[in-house]
């Protein structure tokens, strides 16, 4: 408000007063020109006119002495005669000292050869106005206007005004060619002071920007060049300058001084051009620390609680902030101030006395001038920072960089005490423990390498750039002081061009939160590492037990306003349900201390968690719970919150402050709009850890949830994240986005991969080799017929979609078609089965309703298969013959297969030839297959009688368990089941008791497999387990435990649903896996394989993938291949995704 007073005063001052006023202003000018040279000690007059005690307001006793003293304070070497002459010349003029100095420089100081001197100089005497050193270049504005605007800016404005501007410092100058908009009576004087101002002072940002934050109108409409003296508009500035200047005018962060340097010495008519030197100064205000919490975060989080799905719209304030930021970047671009890359080189240069000459940038010479004029706001703003788009390889580079290998290698190893930790850690796990302990600031417990353990150290925040103060080449400096003296105290300043924040001090990266993101690749033992951390640091050492009880009691008394009780001795581990027991047993395995125990918190088995954790003498060290529990407690809580407004949870997970929270498979929370994610965010603790092998599943924004959970300020605020990561990424400014992500994560992320080498150059993990074989399979007749039928329908559907161009509208229908085809590849019986993982297809199911036709088709092909079979009479005769051959049906139980020499043949598998010889079903199948492949006849192996696959008999049990003969249906098994059975049999023969894992994504297929395998395999030599989402927690652990016990006499087969068991499970007891069907995403398959191919696996791993020949499955393999190369992480762009989907569909049906 002081400033306004100053302005007001001047505005209404009459001519008589102006001399005095001018003098004051001049002194300010002096002060200011000094101030950026001797930055600390002077204070801008403009701001503190009335309050400051700077003695310039005192009336001098002798005007002449005072005048000379003033001159000499500027130019100490000025001789007395010269000074006296100047006094004579100028003491009557309004602006005496300034004019005197101008005159002095132009007439006495020959050495000062300036570029501007080429321009015709105006007579100095007519330079009537003082140089306005005001921070606010729009000094002509009356206070009412300013006041109005102040309102518009809200609290920001007020905050600014409170700030004192201590000093300002030159950063560069531009020559601006302006266009006259008003004719002038006389030519403008060389060196006249001009100012830039907004033509409409209180323009709502919505007028300037559309909802996407893009500029709607030309900024040049709103910026005017004023003659400061006459307070009269004279012209406009070019658009590019206007874009820079407009958002910055009226803020005290940047000060502009405009001086007329060329108008061809004639009066201006409308449309004439004139040249203005625009000196730009950074003021102290810009360097003042802004509190990030001024950002509307509190509002956001409040909103998010109730109203989460709304995307955040940029507020006016944010818009203004952003335009300011872009303007700053553009300005820096224009001024050609480039970040310092080599600090030392510059320092050296300075010491040796060489310095780059700052130059006035002549825009006319700038080739890009015209281009820039026409370019759009964003592009222009980003020119300096624009990078070519980034491909996946670069993304990988980013990942690699994020690992900062060297520092990892050199991490010392912390050996957990044997008193608490039973297992042996691998070397890198010990290093990981060191890192984790350091992240929790437990330096005493971590091994030390003698270096300063503070990792964050002196690292400059990479978002910030270092700049060198340029030499002062401003008009004022050149005209008034001739040469500038650089004070070496401040050679550099720092700017964050992403936020528009400035600092004179080196911005040091600080991450205060405890915890981090352990992102080791799958199978490197994240669980064990975490347990070693927990057991090494089981409770908060800052908290002494006794206070605990006290605190708790206090809570009871004071009630809900009090902080949650602190469970300082407990770590909460949140895991997917399938891992609950695994964590628990791993804990038991690792724990070596009788005082520590773990508790599973699931399904209400703990009545009062709060009491258990905070009010008992020996709370569990670890509480393990599931995402589901956290979510449901949270939902309950938010419901009561809605109703009663009671914020404090009285019981459950949200009622206590944990010492540490660990979320396993942390990518579960990647979508921050899900209830699970929101619930997890609300857990409170002192240390927070995320474990995940795949921090990014689909898009870069997946990381945001991690950052939010870790409470990495300020990135955990969505507005920051959007501004620095999402938006640049969407704008294809990948480099910037990754830079930022890198900067955010580097200190908190630890990622090791299996390929990495330790300090001795050995791989971190040496796993036995794994072999993945694709086995191509032919469909059986029925499958083939159904497949062809469905393929035709699907193709025509896709073709018509492509022709009409609305392929994606029919996307769900096509997905159903594709699903159908994939199902047939597995088993015809799967058709129509509703897969729980594909609920969204139920709609489409109706669209592709073809059950009737399909049934007919299946029936028909079945009939075809039977052709050449028995007639009724023949069948009866064959049965009779065989029955005659064997005296009673008990003999059927002790048959020998002459092909595989198995004895006895499992009655369920017996097949009789017409001639009455028994064989195993599979052996005979194999025989038929071999003979037909060699184009040989089918003869009974025993008697060489001709036989036919359709004229076979088999046994069945009637109600009384006696065995009877019936016709053998020769095409009952789908191709894959047959292939799987062959593999299983072979495996059983060669390596007895070997456990086998069979993966499928269709849980209904698992049901079919379960049935088929149990039927086909003798119960005494094999056992089939099934593990899918329908199992309860208890059943899961029973299944897994039983499966893991090796039994040499029995082949254990685990049918595993990908969705339920794809993550986390440790199945190293098995070394053979079969993939029944391919997945779209290769990483999902890799995940599945890693269930068995991980630490602890001692055997060679063999994986067989069954792929039906010439089918959609083969094409899926190709798409997988493609995904591997293009990468899935780059799916950020919706358009791109659509395009790719269409391509994929085309690939499937070409």
């Amino acid at each position: 408000m002081l400033k306004m007073n100053g302005e007001k005063k001047r505005f209404f001052d009459d001519e008589l007063d102006s001399s005095e006023d001018a003098k004051v202003n001049f002194d300010q000018s002096l002060q200011n020109s000094e101030s950026f040279l001797f930055s600390e000690n002077s204070i801008s007059k403009q701001e503190d006119n009335d309050q400051s005690n700077i003695p310039t307001i005192e009336i001098p006793s002798d005007p002449k002495d005072e005048f000379i003293a003033d001159l000499r304070s500027v130019i100490p070497e000025m001789s007395l005669p010269v000074a006296e002459e100047l006094y004579e010349r100028f003491h009557k003029s309004e602006d005496n000292i300034s004019n005197a100095l101008t005159y002095y420089f132009e007439n006495y100081n020959d050495t000062n050869s300036l570029k501007t001197q080429e321009l015709p100089s105006s007579p100095f005497s007519s330079r009537s106005s003082t140089r306005n050193s005001s921070v606010n270049s729009s000094s002509h504005e009356g206070s009412p206007v300013t006041h109005k605007r102040g309102k518009g800016y809200g609290f920001r404005r007020e905050k600014r005004l409170k700030a004192n501007i201590q000093w300002k410092r030159f950063v560069g100058a531009l020559q601006v060619t302006c266009m006259a908009t008003r004719p002038t009576v006389r030519p403008l004087k060389y060196g006249s002071e001009l100012s830039f101002t907004k033509s409409v002072s209180n323009l709502s940002p919505s007028k300037l920007y559309d909802s996407y934050g893009r500029r709607k109108t030309k900024m040049s409409n709103y910026v005017r060049v004023f003659d400061s003296q006459l307070n009269r508009e004279i012209g406009r500035v070019p658009e590019d300058i206007a874009q820079i200047v407009y958002p910055l005018i009226g803020k005290n962060e940047i000060s502009f001084e405009a001086t007329l340097i060329f108008c061809d010495n004639k009066r201006l008519s409308i449309g004439d051009t004139f040249v203005v030197q625009l000196d730009c100064f950074l003021t102290s205000a810009i360097f003042e620390e802004k509190k990030p919490d001024k950002k509307p975060t509190t509002n956001h989080s409040a909103n998010e609680w109730g109203n989460s799905r709304k995307t955040i719209v940029e507020t006016d304030e944010e818009l203004q902030n952003r335009s300011r930021m872009v303007a700053l970047i553009s300005l820096f671009d224009k001024l050609k101030i480039n970040p310092v890359t080599d600090e030392n080189a510059i320092l050296e240069k300075l010491n040796s006395g060489i310095d780059d000459q700052g130059e006035v940038i002549d825009l006319e010479d700038d080739k890009s001038f015209n281009e820039l004029m026409s370019q759009d706001y964003e592009e222009q703003g980003m020119t300096q920072h624009h990078e070519d788009s980034m491909n996946l390889n670069q993304l990988k580079t980013f990942y690699n960089a994020a690992q900062s290998l060297e520092s990892l290698k050199n991490l010392p190893e912390t050996e957990p005490s044997k008193d608490v930790f039973k297992l042996d850690l691998r070397r890198y796990q010990k290093q990981g423990l060191t890192w984790m302990l350091r992240r929790e600031r437990e330096f005493a417990k971590a091994a030390s390498d003698g270096k300063d353990p503070e990792i964050d150290g002196n690292l400059m925040n990479p978002l910030w750039k270092q700049f060198k103060w340029p030499k002062d080449m401003s008009w004022a400096a050149q005209k008034l002081s001739g040469s500038s003296i650089l004070v070496d105290s401040d050679i550099f300043f720092y700017a964050n061009l992403h936020t528009g924040e400035f600092s004179v001090n080196k911005p040091v990266l600080k991450t205060m939160m405890k915890g981090g993101l352990l992102s080791d690749e799958m199978g490197l033992g994240k669980t064990v590492s975490t347990l070693s951390l927990i057991l090494t640091c089981p409770h908060d050492s800052d908290v002494v037990d006794k206070t605990l009880f006290k605190e708790d009691n206090d809570d009871e008394i004071i009630g809900k306003s009090v902080k949650k009780p602190y469970a300082s001795r407990t770590t909460l581990i949140v895991v997917p349900m399938s891992l609950l027991n695994q964590w628990s047993s791993e804990f038991t395995k690792a724990n070596n201390s009788p005082d520590m125990r773990s508790e599973i918190y699931y399904g209400g088995n703990v009545s009062s968690l709060k009491k258990l954790l905070t009010a008992t003498g020996n709370p569990p060290t670890v509480v393990i719970t599931t995402y589901g529990i956290v979510q449901s407690e949270w939902l309950k809580l938010s419901k009561t919150k809605m109703n009663s407004g009671d914020i404090q949870a009285s019981t459950g997970l949200f009622s206590v402050d944990f010492y540490r929270v660990v979320i396993d498979e942390g990518h579960t929370i990647r979508n921050r709009t899900t209830a699970t994610s929101k619930a997890i965010m609300e857990l409170t603790s002192k240390c927070r850890w995320i474990l995940t092998g795949t921090p990014i599943i689909n898009r870069l924004d997946d990381l945001y949830s991690m950052v939010k959970f870790l409470q990495l300020e300020p990135w955990s605020q969505i507005s920051y994240w959007k501004m620095f990561v999402s938006t640049p990424f969407e704008n294809k400014n990948f480099r910037q986005a990754f830079d930022v992500v890198n900067a955010i994560l580097e200190p908190v992320l630890l990622r090791r991969t299996k390929q990495m080498k330790d300090i001795d150059g050995k791989p971190l993990v040496e796993l036995p080799p794994k072999e993945i074989v694709v086995e191509r399979i032919k469909l059986n007749k029925t499958q083939n017929a159904v497949y062809k039928y469905l393929l035709n329908r699907a193709e025509s559907s896709v073709q018509s979609g492509l022709a009409r161009g609305d392929l994606l509208k029919k996307y769900s229908t096509i997905l159903v078609h594709i699903l159908r085809l994939r199902q047939v590849c597995c088993d015809v019986a799967l058709l129509g089965a509703q897969d729980e993982n594909d609920e969204d297809l139920s709609q489409g199911n109706k669209i592709v309703n073809d059950s009737k036709e399909l049934d007919d088709l299946i029936a028909q092909t079945n009939k075809e298969n039977q052709s050449g079979g028995f007639t009724e009479e023949e069948l009866a005769k064959a049965i009779a013959d065989i029955q005659q051959k064997y005296e009673n049906s008990e003999k059927f139980r002790s048959l020998e297969c002459s092909i595989c020499t198995t004895e006895p043949i499992n009655v369920e598998n017996v097949v009789f030839t017409e001639c009455g010889h028994p064989f195993c079903e599979n052996c005979l199948d194999e025989y038929f297959a071999f003979q037909s492949q060699k184009k040989l006849d089918f003869n009974c192996p025993n008697c060489r009688e001709g036989i036919s696959p359709s004229r076979l008999l088999t046994l069945y049990k009637d109600e009384s368990q006696s065995l009877l003969l019936k016709h053998y249906d020769n095409d009952p098994k789908s191709a894959k089941v047959g292939a799987l059975l062959n593999h299983l049999k072979l495996l059983q023969d060669t390596s007895a008791g070997e456990q086998v894992v069979v993966f499928s994504q269709f849980s209904s297929y698992l049901d079919i497999l379960e049935r088929e395998l149990t039927e086909a395999l003798p119960a005494d030599s094999s056992k089939v387990y099934k593990f899918d989402g329908r199992l309860s927690l208890k059943e899961r652990s029973v299944v897994l435990q039983d499966f893991q016990v090796k039994d040499l006499s029995r082949q254990k087969i685990l049918l595993l649903s990908l969705k339920a068991g794809g993550v986390g499970l440790n199945l190293t007891c098995a070394s053979q896996a079969y993939m029944m069907d391919p997945w779209w995403s290769p990483s999902m398959e890799d995940q599945a394989i890693d269930r068995i191919h991980r630490i602890g696996q001692t055997n060679n791993v063999k994986v067989v993938r069954f792929i039906v020949e010439n089918s959609i499955e083969e094409k899926m393999l190709r798409i997988q291949e493609r995904k591997r190369t293009i990468g899935e992480a780059m799916d950020a762009d919706e358009d791109e995704r659509r395009k790719r989907r269409i391509e994929e569909i085309k690939m499937l049906f070409e």
């Binding site: 020499t901 198995t902 194999e926 009974c940 072979l986 060669t990």
Partner: protein
């Protein structure tokens, strides 16, 4: 190498535990599908008192495919050529997966007992055999003495 089916293991075990008289078959240590075989010349045949070495190999498709058998010991026989290849129906077209190593070797032994010059493999031998059976048999005996003599010491 494909893993060993149960049937082969079973057969091998039985060949060792319950050998056929006059026949031995032992698998190689490094390849269990490869057998060293000896067959004694049947009594009352020109090959009596001879011990004939053979090699037997079970192909991957065994038992769908017949084993490959060859004489290593030189033998004068119309159905066995100079390379030791054997002309025997069960090894070719009449193979059936119900047959086993044991049955194949018995068939070979039987072939020694009753040569069949009408379905010859070694044509010159067969001609001799038809022209002058006694002379041929004498030559066979001679060869047996020469090449397949039982070495008692070893």
């Amino acid at each position: 190498m494909a893993s060993l089916p149960k049937r082969i293991i079973k057969e091998t075990e039985r060949l060792i535990s319950d050998p056929v008289p006059g026949i031995t078959a032992e698998p190689h240590d490094d390849n269990l599908r490869y057998f060293n075989v000896t067959v004694e010349g049947p009594t009352q045949s020109p090959y009596e008192n001879g011990i004939f070495k053979l090699e037997l190999y079970l192909p991957d498709d065994y038992p769908m495919e017949a084993p490959k058998v060859r004489f290593l010991t030189k033998i004068y026989h119309p159905n066995i050529d100079r390379l030791g290849r054997i002309c025997l129906d069960v090894l070719k077209t009449n193979w059936s997966p119900a047959l086993q190593i044991r049955t194949v070797l018995l068939s070979i032994q039987a072939l020694l007992a009753s040569p069949n010059p009408n379905d010859p493999l070694a044509n010159d031998v067969a001609e001799d055999w038809i022209k002058n059976e006694e002379a041929a048999k004498a030559k066979a005996r001679e060869w047996t003495q020469l090449y397949a003599k039982k070495v008692d010491d070893n």
